[in-house]
Structure formats: C-alpha cells, structure tokens
C-alpha cells in the first residue's frame, strides 16, 4: 500500500492519510471563512465531509497520473499534492496563484502535478481525462487518468459519452463518482431511478460502491482499480457514498439555508472520515492523541503560512489582463474592449 505522492514528516501511510484529510478540512474551513468575509470574492463550494474520497483515491496516484476535478475541487487538488499556499493565492486572485489569479476556485490546476483543473461545468472534465489516458496508452506509459464528479453529473451527456469512450478504448481511466446525495437542493433519487454504479456497469465499466466516509476503504478500492488500469485491464467506476457538510456553496452575504433533513446531516457527521480514521489508528495502537495534536498543529501552521503567502502576493497588473488568451497573438487579436486609437488615427489616406 504505497502512497506515492504523500511525502513529508509522517512515515505511517495511514497517518499520512489522516494528515492529508485534516489539511483538506482545515483548508476548506479557512476558504469558506474567507468567502463569507468577502476576502475571497467568488463562491466557494466546500469539500468538508468528503475528504476520504479525494485523499483515499489520490493516495494511490503519482504525479504522472492525471486527475480532472469539479466545481467542488479544492479537496481533489490538495489530495493530489497541490500546494495550499498557491491555492490560497489563486483564491485571492494573486499572481503567485496556480493560475496566476486567472482561474479562481473553479479552475485551479497544476499541469505539472497532473491536475488538469477544476471545472465549472458539471461533467466536462471527464472526456479530457479520457484523452490524457489515451496518450498514456498510446505512448506505453503506465499512468492512469482519474476524473472526479458528483452524483448530479451522472445525468450529463458528456460524462455518459465518456463512459463509453473509456470502455470502448480500454482506457486506463478510473471514474470517481462522489455520491453526496444532492445536486444543489435536488436529491439524486428525484432525478434518477436505480443505482449509479449499475448505470456505469451498463457501459462495460468495472463498477463498485465503497463507503466514501472511510478513507482506507476508498484507498483500497481505488488501488484495485488503479492497478487494474495500469496493467491494461481497462476502466473502472467507483461510486463513493459520502456527504457534504455544508450547503452547496458559500459566499459573502448569502442567506441561503440548508434544506436537507437535519437527521441526515447528523448521521453524516457521525460518520466523519477524519475522526473515524484517528479513532481507529489510536484503537489499533498505532497512534496517540498527542501525536495527533502535533499533526493538527502542523496542518494549522501550513495553512497559516499559506494564507500569509497568499495575502502578501501581488495582484495581476491591469496591463496583463489580455495575457494567456492565446499561445500566439496577432495584430488586432485579441480584440480590445474599445478601439479608441482609430477614432483619431483612421484616415482617408490608404
């Protein structure tokens, strides 16, 4: 059970899982606070509650593997090894952010870490993962591509088409469905009949359900699917039963309340993936409360440091607003918002 991209102070891989989940949790709580306070200007789709999925899955991946993510993407990016400082810088719209302040919450990417980006459009990342997986296959590289998406996405045409692409080409793709029961306010049971994993199996995907609040269960299931894909066995589908703790998203001044049944939320919190793993590790005698406190403090320090870095970074210069639209620009391309010089410059001469 290796965790290729989880390096750092902890040597027990399960404690590394804890640490990473804790990082996701505290990052996201911090981001949500910043959004409520208006320091992050856009809405933030909080990942809290679902940490076991991103961390369990990404613990089986290396930097040459690719993920695509969603509107609720911070967790995936951190789990794949993303730097919280550069992520916070992106959320604050700074030049030092992953996307130089151009992307924001829904587009954070680190191509060098195989993070092809969060995506504001439900389901849209999956076909890109298939394309990357094809390149791996074609070049004989043992990498895999892992698209994350929610329960709501399984009704989106482009995702369903992607199931077929992966299946027909025997691509090294592991589809990860985070079934948190809702798309905004709409329960999945109201917009589909039957089970998500059954639908996926109908496309010829090797398909299983796993407890998405149990990081070791997710990791083990993901490992099987990833090894299968690396070995040429083709695509699989992992339905992770999970819950988000927060409302759909948070932003400054929002008055939206949670419409989900209270009991459901209480039950979800009782399954908290972070507390669960910590409790198990301590019960297994592999860890102590004190050691946990040390890790928690390290995480706090990492986030605080990241936030300091982000806040101290500069914002993009106004003059750079046109940058990156094209790899190559041409005279007059891209067209500006106003074409004023010509008012005075256009002449009757040829």
């Amino acid at each position: 059970m290796s965790a290729p991209n989880f390096t750092g102070p902890v040597s027990d891989p399960d404690i590394a899982l804890y640490r990473r989940m804790r990082l996701l949790r505290r990052f996201e709580e911090t981001a949500a606070d910043l959004a409520r306070a208006g320091e992050i200007v856009s809405a933030v789709h909080e990942y809290t509650g679902q940490e076991a999925v991103a961390v369990g899955v990404c613990s089986t991946l290396g930097p040459d593997d690719v993920i695509t993510s969603t509107h609720r993407g911070h967790g995936h990016i951190l789990a794949k090894g993303g730097d919280p400082a550069r992520m916070l810088a992106e959320l604050l719209g700074r030049e030092s952010g992953y996307n130089k302040g151009r992307g924001g919450s829904m587009h954070i990417a680190d191509l060098d870490l195989g993070i092809f980006g969060a995506n504001g459009i439900v389901g849209a990342g999956a076909p890109m993962a298939c394309g990357a997986a094809y390149m791996f296959l074609m070049r004989g590289e043992p990498n895999v591509a892992v698209p994350f998406f929610g329960d709501g996405a399984v009704n989106q045409g482009v995702l369903l088409e992607s199931f077929n692409l992966a299946s027909m080409m025997t691509l090294p793709v592991v589809f990860i469905c985070e079934n948190n029961g809702y798309a905004v306010t709409t329960p999945i049971g109201a917009v589909m009949k039957g089970e998500i994993h059954v639908r996926a199996a109908g496309f010829g995907l090797e398909s299983v359900v796993v407890d998405g609040m149990n990081v070791r269960a997710v990791r083990d299931a993901a490992m099987r699917a990833v090894e299968r894909a690396r070995g040429g066995g083709g695509p699989s589908f992992l339905e992770c039963d999970t819950r988000r703790y927060s409302i759909h998203n948070v932003s400054a001044g929002s008055t939206v309340t949670d419409e989900r049944p209270e009991q459901e939320q209480a039950t979800a919190r009782a399954r908290d993936p972070i507390e669960r793993l910590a409790g198990e590790l301590i019960a297994e005698g592999r860890w102590t409360l004190e050691a946990r406190a040390v890790v928690d403090r390290e995480v706090e320090t990492e986030i605080d440091g990241g936030l300091g870095f982000a806040r101290n970074s500069r914002r993009p210069e106004a003059a750079s607003a046109y940058d990156f639209m094209y790899a190559r620009t041409y005279p007059g391309l891209p067209a500006p918002a106003v074409d004023l010089p010509s008012v005075d410059l256009s002449g009757a001469e040829s």
Binding site: A183, V184, T185, A321, A335, A337, V343, D344, G347, A348
Partner: protein, 334 residues
C-alpha cells in the same frame, strides 16, 4: 397599481401570473423546486409537481423535452440557472427548436421560453460563468429580450411566455440588486419595442441590460456640460426596433454602442452594421463599440474590469465621437 419589486421578484411575478392564467404553462429547470432560487421561490408549493419540474443536469435533453412538450400542447418555460448552460443544450436550441417551425412547414407553433439567469460577469465569476451569450442566439434567429428594469422584466417575461415562438429572456446578474415600480396587473409588452431612457441630440448611446443604468448616469453627468446624450435601450434584441434606432441616429448623427458581450460578431457589431447600412448619410463621426474584449474573463476582479465595458470607457468613446467628427489624418491602426 405599482409596487416596488426587485428585478428578480418581477420575473417571479410574471412566472406566477402566467402559470395562474394558463394551465398549459409548465416550468422546468434545475433546483427550481427548492427555496434557493429567488425567481422560483414558492412556485412549486403553489403549482405542484405536475407543473414545476426539477430536472436532472441534462440541459440538452430537457431543452428537447420542452420542444416535445410544446409540440404536444404545452407552453413551456425552461430555466438555465447559469448563462453558459445553454452551451450543452446548443444543438437542441439552434439546430432543433429554432428551426423546427420552418422545417415543419408551419404545422405547429413552438411556445417555449428560455429563461437565462445570471447572465454576465462581475465579482470573480471567472471564465466559465461570466458569459453573456445572446449573440449566439441572435445569430440563430431565436427571439431574445434583455430587460433593463424590473417593470420591463415582468412585461417582457409575460410577453415571452405568451409568444408562440421560442423566446430567450436574459436576466443580467448586474441587475439582481436593482428594484423599481412594477404594475400589479399582468400586462405583457409588445416585443420589438425600444425605449428612449434619456433623450438627447448629440450622440446616440445604444445600451443593453445592466449597462442602461450606467449609460443614463453618464448622460446625466454630461448634460451638465451641455453634451446631449440619447440613451436607446433596445429591450428586445430580436425582433429589434430598427425604426426607432434609425430615428435616433438620424437625429444625433453619432453612435456609440455599449454592450457587455464579446466584441467580434457581437450585438454591437450588428447595430454598427445596421446603422452603417441605413443611416450612413446622417452619420457625422465613426461608430464606436464599447464592448468586452475578446478575452476569457479572468478571475481577479481588477483585471476583469480591464476587459469589460466600463462607464469610463463609454465616456471616452462618447467624447471621442464628438471630437472625431472632423476627419483626422494619420496612419492605419492594426
């Protein structure tokens, strides 16, 4: 009787009154049964499961569903909760619904309204949630309105629902914070009628949606200097009130178009083309377009502003056409 309603509240009232008045009216969209979306709050409680449908995240299919339901006798309102969600449904919009009536040789009407919420940029909505995609629908020949006041929002929404053709209603996010007097009665307006929001004689400013407010403010400011700006609000982008536009430009002889969508092949290009074709001999100065740059909207709010039409740029353009009415000589600009 008028009361003050918010822009979105006015849209909501049009939905309620239309569904009240005609049992054939159904509404479908994502998350519209919940209480999160202000434009549909209470609609499900009032009209029930059969007439208020929460859709899966299947924009293409539910757009086609609306087409089929309309052919089968319904009068359907489809909500897109974000403007860019028309893209996954694009084939069903421009290659199916828009074309069906003619392809059928007029066998049936197609009474479908597309309510496109949250159109436009602002506040870090970033690359994929900042579009104002009406030029795509205009090019496809889909009737399209973009109300700029709460009263118009209600009247144009009512008119769109009553129309026997597909009509897209754009609700600019830039107007969500506004409110104003709205008549209680259900009084649909006639499509294709522009409104003069400020009368002037020196230059015509065509402004759309939330930019109308900004243009009127500028007109007020410049009036103090003796510069007389006419602000022309199309209200309905297709059909377009060409006669009234021509009348305005023929009067002022100058035109600036102030429009919050991409420049190339945008609405401003169409207005410029129209006026260069029809009012040429009245024009005293070049036509100026103040639009978005043709650049993906970045997240950071400071650089975002560089790319959007701003009152400052509008003012510069207005002053430029006033100054530029005399020919200047110099080299071409690429």
């Amino acid at each position: 009787m008028s009361r003050v309603l918010s822009y979105v509240g006015a849209l909501r009232e049009a939905l309620f009154q239309s569904m009240e008045a005609d049992l054939a009216v159904l509404m479908l969209g994502e998350n519209i049964r919940g209480e999160v979306r202000p434009e549909t709050k209470g609609l499900h409680a009032r009209f029930g499961d059969a007439r208020v449908l929460d859709m899966p995240i299947s924009e293409a299919a539910f757009t086609g569903f609306a087409t089929g339901a309309a052919l089968a006798g319904g009068r359907i309102i489809v909500e897109f909760q974000v403007s860019s969600l028309i893209y996954p449904a694009f084939d069903q919009l421009v290659n199916q619904a828009a074309k069906l009536p003619l392809m059928l040789g007029g066998q049936r009407f197609l009474p479908v309204t597309y309510l496109i919420m949250g159109a436009g940029a602002g506040g870090g909505r970033a690359g994929q949630h900042s579009d104002n995609p009406y030029p795509y629908l205009l090019h496809a020949g889909i009737k399209t309105v973009c109300p700029s006041t709460p009263a118009d929002a209600k009247a144009l929404m009512l008119a769109a629902i009553a129309e026997n053709d597909p009509v897209a209603v754009f609700a600019p996010v830039g107007l969500y914070g506004t409110s104003g007097p709205v008549p209680e009665a259900a009084e649909p307006t006639v499509l294709g009628q522009a409104k003069l929001r400020h009368v002037g004689s020196d230059v015509t400013v065509v402004a759309v949606g939330h930019l109308v407010v900004q243009a009127v403010a500028l007109a007020g400011k410049l009036a103090d200097e003796g510069l007389s700006v006419e602000v022309w609000d199309p209200c309905s982008l297709l059909p377009l009130d060409k006669a009234s536009l021509q009348a305005s430009v023929n009067k002022t002889g100058r035109l600036v178009i102030y429009d919050d969508t991409n420049r190339t092949c945008g609405f401003a290009a169409e207005i410029a083309g129209l006026v260069a074709e029809r009012c040429f001999f009245s024009l005293k100065a070049p036509i100026k377009r103040v639009t978005r740059a043709d650049v993906t909207i970045p997240y950071g709010v400071e650089i975002e502003q560089e790319l959007l039409p701003t009152p400052e740029r509008l003012e510069t353009a207005v002053r430029a056409v006033m100054a530029g009415s005399q020919p200047h000589k110099s080299g071409a600009n690429a």
